[in-house]
C-alpha cells in the first residue's frame, strides 16, 4: 500500500468514527432543542410524559447516582488499596479479585438488573426503590472504578513508598498522606467515568428502581431515571417522542460535560506531573 492510500484510509476511518457522534448530537438538537426550557427541567411530567417536564426524573437520577457513588467510593478505594498496596501481583486472593472484576466488568447490565432485583429488592426487602437502584448500579460501576483507582496507585513511583518508609512514616500514614493525595486525580477521573456509566444506565434500573415518575420523597421511594424515561416515552407512549428527544438531549449533554471534565482533570494533572525535575 502506498504512502498516500494509507493516509487516506486512516483519515477516512477517523472521520467516519466521528460521523455517528455528530449525527446523534445533531439529531437530538434538531428534534429536542425547542422543547428545552427551564420549566421542562423543573416541572413534573404530565399525561404520561407527553406534556410537562422531567423535574422528578432529574432528582431521582441524581439520588440513584448519589447512592451509587456513596456506596462505591469506600469499597472501591479500599479494594484498590488492597490490590496495589497489600498484595503482590502473584498473590492468590489478589488474582482472584482481579479475575472476578474483569468478569463483572463484562457482565451485561440486564443481568445486573435481575441480580439487583433478586438481592436488594427481594432478599433484602428494599423493594423497587432508589436505594435498590443505586446499590445495583454500584455493583456495576465498582469494577471500572477499582481498576482506574488501582492504576492510579500503581502509577505512583515505588521510590515514594521507600522514601516514606526511610523517613519512619508508617504504612497507614504513607497511604493517608502521600498515596491518597497523589492518587486524587485518578480517583476523580475514575469516579467521573463511573458516574457517567451509572447515569446512562437503563437495563439495571428497570427491575430495581422502577418506573414511578412522581417526585421522590425518600430513598425508599421508587424513582424513574432519565434513560428509563426516554425508553418509556419512545416505546410505550404514543406521541411521547418530542419529550423523549428533549430528555435524551439533557442526558447526552450531562454525559458530555462529565466526560469533558474527566479529560480536563487528567490533562491538568499530567501537565502538572511533567514539570521539569
Amino acid at each position: 500500500m502506498s504512502e498516500t492510500s494509507m493516509t487516506v484510509v486512516v483519515w477516512t476511518a477517523a472521520t467516519l468514527i466521528t460521523f455517528p457522534f455528530l449525527w446523534l448530537v445533531g439529531d437530538l438538537l434538531w428534534h429536542g432543542w425547542h422543547q428545552l426550557s427551564l420549566s421542562f427541567l423543573l416541572f413534573a411530567p404530565q399525561d404520561a410524559g407527553r406534556e410537562g417536564g422531567i423535574g422528578p426524573i432529574l432528582l431521582s437520577t441524581a439520588l440513584i447516582v448519589g447512592v451509587c457513588m456513596t456506596a462505591v467510593m469506600p469499597i472501591g478505594i479500599g479494594t484498590a488499596l488492597f490490590l496495589s498496596e497489600y498484595t503482590r501481583n502473584d498473590h492468590l486472593l489478589g488474582r482472584l479479585i482481579r479475575g472476578s472484576l474483569d468478569v463483572l466488568a463484562g457482565v451485561p447490565s440486564i443481568v445486573f438488573g435481575l441480580f439487583g432485583n433478586a438481592l436488594f429488592c427481594q432478599a433484602l426487602g428494599l423493594g423497587f426503590s432508589i436505594l435498590s437502584g443505586g446499590l445495583t448500579l454500584a455493583c456495576m460501576v465498582l469494577p471500572i472504578l477499582i481498576r482506574t483507582v488501582e492504576e492510579s496507585f500503581r502509577a505512583i513511583a515505588h521510590e515514594q513508598r521507600v522514601s516514606a518508609a526511610a523517613l519512619g512514616i508508617s504504612k497507614r500514614a504513607t497511604i493517608q498522606y502521600i498515596l491518597l493525595p497523589a492518587a486524587i486525580p485518578g480517583l476523580l477521573v475514575g469516579s467521573i467515568l463511573g458516574l457517567g456509566r451509572a447515569m446512562a444506565e437503563t437495563a439495571a434500573l428497570i427491575f430495581t428502581s422502577g418506573y414511578v415518575d412522581r417526585m421522590p420523597t425518600s430513598l425508599m421511594d421508587s424513582g424513574r431515571a432519565l434513560s428509563i424515561h426516554i425508553y418509556d416515552l419512545a416505546m410505550n407512549v404514543a406521541g411521547g417522542n418530542p419529550n423523549a428527544y428533549a430528555t435524551a438531549l439533557v442526558l447526552v449533554g450531562l454525559l458530555i460535560i462529565i466526560n469533558l471534565s474527566a479529560s480536563w482533570i487528567a490533562e491538568k494533572w499530567t501537565s502538572f506531573n511533567q514539570l521539569p525535575t
Binding site: R88, V162, A166, L167, G168, I178, L275, T277
Partner: protein, 289 residues
C-alpha cells in the same frame, strides 16, 4: 594529621560500654577525630530468594565519620546500606542474617521499632524522591507523623533544616510551590533536609550525586562534608575521586562468585595509598572494576 590516642581510662570505659573494640590505632582524617563505633556489622549476609547478595560482612563504622562504600556494581553495597535502616524488609524475598548493632540497639531483632530506627537513621537515594506536594509539605509530613503539630515549631524546624542544606534563601519565598519545580540538585538537598528535620544520628547516602549535574553534585558533596562530625555518614559511591575527597574511611566491596564480599576496609588514606589487597590496588588504579 594526628594519631588518635585516647586516654587509657576513656578507652576502657568505652570498651566496657559498647563491648566492642572501639579504638583503632590509625590516623584520623578531617572531622573524624574520636573513633567510637557507631554501627557494627558482624557476619552480616543478605540473600534475595536464596541467592546470596552479600556474604559475611564484618565492619565497624565510626561515629561522626564519613565512611564510603565503594566497589563495582552488584557487589552488595546498597543491600548493606539498606540493611542498616532495615529497608531490606520492604524487598520481597530478601533475607538478612548475622548481627547489626547501632550503639546498643540490635537492628535485626524482631522487637526493634522500625519507625523509631528509621527516624534515627536518615537515608537519601540516588534519584531525588520528593513527594508530589509543596516544598513545605515535603518537610511537614514526616514531622507531623513523628508528633510535631505546633505551627510555630514546625515553621522554625523547617527553616533550620532548609538553612542547614543551604536551600532557605533559594526557596523561602516559594515554600508552597510544588517540590517538583526545583532543580535536581535542589530536590536532592530538599530530600536531605527532609531527613535532617528528624534529627537523625546516621545518614545513609546511596550514590546521592550520581543523578546530578557536576555543579549540583559539587554543592551536594560540599554539603555532605559539612555535616560530618555531627552525623555518622555512610555513602555508597561509584566515584572513587569523590570517595577520596570525602571519606575518612573506605570499605571496598567486591563480587566473588556472584556474591558480594567486603574485600578491604580502613582509613581512606591507607586504602588509597597503600592497599593491602591486589584487587584493591587494581580497582583504585582503574585497572579493574
Amino acid at each position: 594529621m594526628d594519631i588518635v590516642q585516647p586516654t587509657p581510662h576513656l578507652k576502657q570505659a568505652l570498651e566496657e560500654s559498647t563491648g566492642f573494640q572501639s579504638w583503632l590505632p590509625y590516623q584520623s582524617a578531617q572531622s573524624c577525630c574520636v573513633l567510637i563505633a557507631h554501627i557494627r556489622a558482624e557476619n552480616l549476609s543478605i540473600a534475595y530468594h536464596d541467592r546470596l547478595a552479600l556474604e559475611a560482612v564484618t565492619l565497624q563504622i565510626n561515629k561522626g565519620c564519613i565512611t564510603a562504600l565503594v566497589g563495582p556494581s552488584g557487589c552488595g553495597k546498597t543491600s548493606f546500606l539498606m540493611s542498616i535502616n532495615r529497608l531490606t524488609d520492604l524487598i520481597p524475598g530478601c533475607q538478612v542474617s548475622g548481627r547489626l548493632h547501632i550503639n546498643e540497639l540490635d537492628v535485626m531483632a524482631s522487637s526493634t521499632n522500625l519507625l523509631h530506627l528509621r527516624r534515627q537513621v536518615g537515608m537519601i537515594f540516588q534519584k531525588p524522591t520528593v513527594f508530589p506536594f509543596s516544598i513545605k509539605k515535603n518537610l511537614e509530613i514526616a514531622l507531623r507523623e513523628h508528633g510535631m503539630h505546633d505551627q510555630a515549631t514546625l515553621a522554625s524546624t523547617i527553616e533550620t533544616a532548609l538553612q542547614q542544606v543551604g536551600l532557605w534563601n533559594e526557596v523561602k519565598d516559594r515554600l508552597n510551590q510544588p517540590a517538583q519545580t526545583l532543580s535536581g540538585g535542589q530536590q536532592q538537598r530538599l530530600c536531605l533536609a527532609r531527613a535532617l528535620v528528624l534529627t537523625p544520628e546516621i545518614l545513609l547516602l546511596d550514590e546521592p550525586c550520581s543523578a546530578l549535574d557536576p555543579i549540583s553534585s559539587g554543592i551536594v558533596e560540599d554539603l555532605i562534608m559539612s555535616l560530618a562530625g555531627r552525623y555518622t555518614i555512610v555513602i555508597v559511591t561509584h566515584n572513587l575521586a569523590q570517595a577520596r575527597r570525602m571519606a575518612d574511611h573506605v570499605a571496598l566491596f567486591w563480587s566473588v562468585n556472584g556474591s558480594g564480599q567486603l574485600l578491604e576496609h580502613g582509613p581512606a588514606q591507607s586504602i588509597f595509598e597503600s592497599p593491602q589487597h591486589e584487587l584493591t590496588a587494581a580497582y583504585i588504579s582503574g585497572a579493574r572494576g
